[in-house]
Amino acid sequence: MSAPERERSTPVTDRSPWNWLLVVPIVVPLCTFIYNRGEPTLFGFPFFYWSQLAFIVIGVSTTTLVYQLTKRRG
């Protein structure tokens, strides 16, 4: 373990209002009252199953969006 010696000029925060978007894919999959039902079905899948697989799309789009919006320039 060596102690840091030099300061530098790059940003010193990860803060961004866009980060709050990450709350959506964390909270939605935990709300069982939204998806704990059988109808409507899709391709024979009860709602419970296809909706939770669809949450994966929400998760991927949100993290991708936040990554792109908060990427450090340069």
């Binding site: 373990m1 060596s2 102690a3 840091p4 010696e5 030099r6 300061e7 530098r8 790059t10 940003p11 010193v12 925060t13 990860d14 980060n19 990450l22 709350v23 894919p25 964390i26 999959p29 935990l30 069982t32 704990n36 039902r37 059988g38 079905t41 391709f43 024979g44 899948f45 009860p46 419970f48 199953y49 939770q52 697989l53 949450f55 994966i56 929400i58 998760g59 991927v60 949100t62 993290t63 991708t64 936040v66 990554y67 990427k71 450090r72």
Partner: protein, 546 residues
Amino acid sequence: MPQLSDHYVQLSVFVVLFLLVSGMGFVAARWRRPDTLEHLDEWGLGGRNFGSWITWFLLGGDLYTAYTFVAVPALVFGAGAMGFFAVPYTVIVYPMVFLVLVRLWSVSHVHGFVTPADFVRARFGSPTLALSVALAGIVATMPYIALQLVGIESVLKAMGVTGHLPIIVAFTILALYTYNSGLRAPALIAFVKDTLIYLVIIVAVIVIPVKLGGWDVIFGAAEKALSATNPNTGQPRGSILLTANNQLQYVTLAFGSALALFLYPHSITSVLAAKDRNTIKRNMAALPAYSFLLGLIALLGYMALAAGVKPIGADGNTIVPVLFDTHFPAWFTGVAFAAIGIGALVPAAIMSIAAANLFTRNIYKEYLRRDATPQQEAKVSKITSLVVKVGAVACILFLDPQFSIDLQLIGGVIILQTLPSVALGLYTRWFHRGALVAGLVAGLVAGLWMLYTIPNPNTGRAHFGGSAFKLSELGLTDSAVTVYVGFLAVLVNLVVAALLTLALRAAGIPDGEDATRRSDYFADAGDPRVHDLPEITGEAPARSPA
């Protein structure tokens, strides 16, 4: 019982693929070749220089283990909707850790941390707290390695291979190439493992539903099978939707498991091996591809119900191998079994490396030999990784495999207790080091007590029968609502840590020194303070002789 004489084709394909990846494991020492492997940054972290693709395969191979692939469908087969918690769990985990892991990466690269306990040691200035975190990590990881053997055993059983010799041979080969190549071995093998798994599952979810008459038939048959009365409880076996009693369990289990996943030392090992912050962020966006795969794998449990699969003996973990064996041609079954077998090798290798690094950095170097050189550290880690694997095999050989399953259940609860010091520690030093140790112990005791009270009517056991704790045990309610033990245990931990922090501060007990600085948590590759490794990896164009 399956007969070996009917499975020569499957076994041949399995053995050929297994030997192929073993060869890769040895060759991996020369992949992205370093000047020396005798350094933990090299042997234990693969040069700390993996890009987005390698990290995606490595983390995917690391987090989604062979045991997951057999146990999740087994749970769905046995209980229905409850087993599908694996999907919300692996959806929410990535947005949850998106910002946390980059902080851990930065501070670890500035200070050269190899383990989560290294970070805690520097952050709170407490070797005792670091030791607790390291021990929690080792104890939680050991049974997880043993469970990978359970995954291999399930496919061997389905091929009619009996006895323990094959497992010993497989793990000996694994131990040798991990010793030889370090983290590079699982990183290289992960490409094969993940490709095979994707191939097998995509074929399975297309072919098997066609054979069974479609998804509506599968769900219909599963619903019917699950509504049958379980003679042990007098209740239905399960249901394809959640009930009033298990919804809270579903949510807390998904949430608690998500909190725990990246506290496991093997997850952190793969994260620290990434070359920069963006590699991690991109992976948080790309890893849910495996969650989709896991969702499909979970549904194999319903396919098995619809196909009338009977587990071999009482071992529910064999339903997926049996399902494949009865619905695929022999050679493809061999490929599927190899996918599961190889799927066990990658996480087992990374877990043993992670446990070995914890021992080396936080026990050996801290307490036994303070002036250990990097070469000695690497040597100790390599030998420890062997010991860890021998221990895992011994667990399976000499103890009931059920014991490993119980231990892994406990392991999840144990590793969660490092949340305040590792995960919250990345954001705040508000907690007092003494309070964090006390909180960890309190959470552990509370968790063990709760697990102890849980019976399992199906196996007739009175204790350690699962992770669903009845709230009525606390006298809060008389309903049968259940909650995940780990979730409650970490709440106990946090409350104790918070109250004791206030008490210790009030009593003027001195706090530890913080060796990290605020800007350390944002440093990225290219920063002058981030350790530049090209001189040991031999990767950079401007390469200087070591």
